[in-house]
Symmetry: C2
Subunit: 286 residues, 2 copies
Amino acid sequence: MTHSSKLILGPDPEDTRLSAAVTGVNELGKEVDLRIVTERPLTLFLNRQEIVTMMTIGDHPDLLAIGYLINQNMLNPDDPINAIDYDDELGVVVVRTDTETKFETKMKRKVRTSGCAQGTVFGDVIDAFDDIKLDSNATLKTSWLGTLTKQINTTPSLYLEAGAIHGCVLCSEDQPLVYMEDVGRHNAVDKIAGWMAVNKSDPADKIFYTTGRLTSEMVIKTVMMGIPILISRSGFTAWGVELARQSGLTLIGRARGKRFTVLSGRDRIEFDADMSTAPRDQKDAL
Amino acid sequence: MTHSSKLILGPDPEDTRLSAAVTGVNELGKEVDLRIVTERPLTLFLNRQEIVTMMTIGDHPDLLAIGYLINQNMLNPDDPINAIDYDDELGVVVVRTDTETKFETKMKRKVRTSGCAQGTVFGDVIDAFDDIKLDSNATLKTSWLGTLTKQINTTPSLYLEAGAIHGCVLCSEDQPLVYMEDVGRHNAVDKIAGWMAVNKSDPADKIFYTTGRLTSEMVIKTVMMGIPILISRSGFTAWGVELARQSGLTLIGRARGKRFTVLSGRDRIEFDADMSTAPRDQKDAL
């Protein structure tokens, strides 16, 4: 079996806008040089409606904008977008649709009464989530996990270059397809959601890998994207597990090499890996 | 030198509302039992104004509410609060003030024009941040770091019990005073800010420790709280470093045992530790 990389889009650690060189001092009082990741505010508008200010490394603002709106149920993947205007200097991205979106109409009404849309948006996302039952034909072979995590961990990345950054990877079987990084872990997810919408990628046979914890928000976003399998090297929260079980998501945490814990959707897992040599590491990462 | 614990308020891993027992399957297909942390939505109101829905483990909703409002510059530590109403079942906390806050007056005006307050709040926080210059008399002795991190790491906590949770600790010299945990790392900071406001704790001689990365938001919150020294075992972002240097915050990252990297405010550091035996670990945690 050959493992030529199938990576379509990945991190660009060479992009000098995404990291900075700084000089500090170590515990001995000696000067040290290091590279650290960029972080800057990006304010998202949907037409004339201001939505949110995100802290991001700043790559792929168009995909981040689209993915955020879709994952927050503010935009349907089918809604015709006629322009995405990005102003690097102002830190503003505007997604423009032909006609006013359902979300905008609703918000106009909402804002007049209480002045804030946060709770409404949250409630709407939960309502939309409740309607989704994930495809049950997808499979994960445990023999894929070692290859997959090795490929992810050895792909040149800002994580390897500078650290202190989260990564999310859209995968097919044991191969990473799209690998996004961001200082905000939810931004990394949203950039992948944006890529999937733009490229009309079928979620039903995909696997989603994240370095972040398996919280409610991570589970909700994965399910909103229609992906049936979510893997993390980190741990779980109780509500994340509850939501995964409700929607039929396969939820795998504490994945280190061949080791893992599955707390939902084990029916999709085919236990075909040779486990005779795997060491045990139970400590959660964050 | 004795090290009897000076911890005033710490994690309560025995509280059954904060974690749940779940059964899963490991990589061998065998059943495993584990404890995982709770996560639930809490919607915050300032009087009649809905502010935000946070994902939290749910302890100290009153301190979280007050600390969030103060750190977002929506409430002054001196504003008289006449009630905090918390409804556990609805997941709602309401902070009530005697008179309408400046923030509410401003938001009413803002909401009428654009319908969203996010960008305004962000701009206001940055403006408030720009006015703060931290006290320069505070000191950090490098010999404190080993004791401090050992005390934090051995305090009974949800992290030790269940993992996948962030911790923040308000410290004095080499002793933890208030240790808060939460699934959202900013919630842990905000709960400490709330505790400090309620207990009128002087920030000028304190040290703040976090398990999370040193991002802009972490730096802004620490500076808004008036604490001159911020330590993390994780890495930095470029904007976090820039903001720390601007406000004169001592910013120490990658702190593991006696090892660390300081990228801002080294003048406060007294290099008195014996470094002859410390091992080197350069890898960033998240």
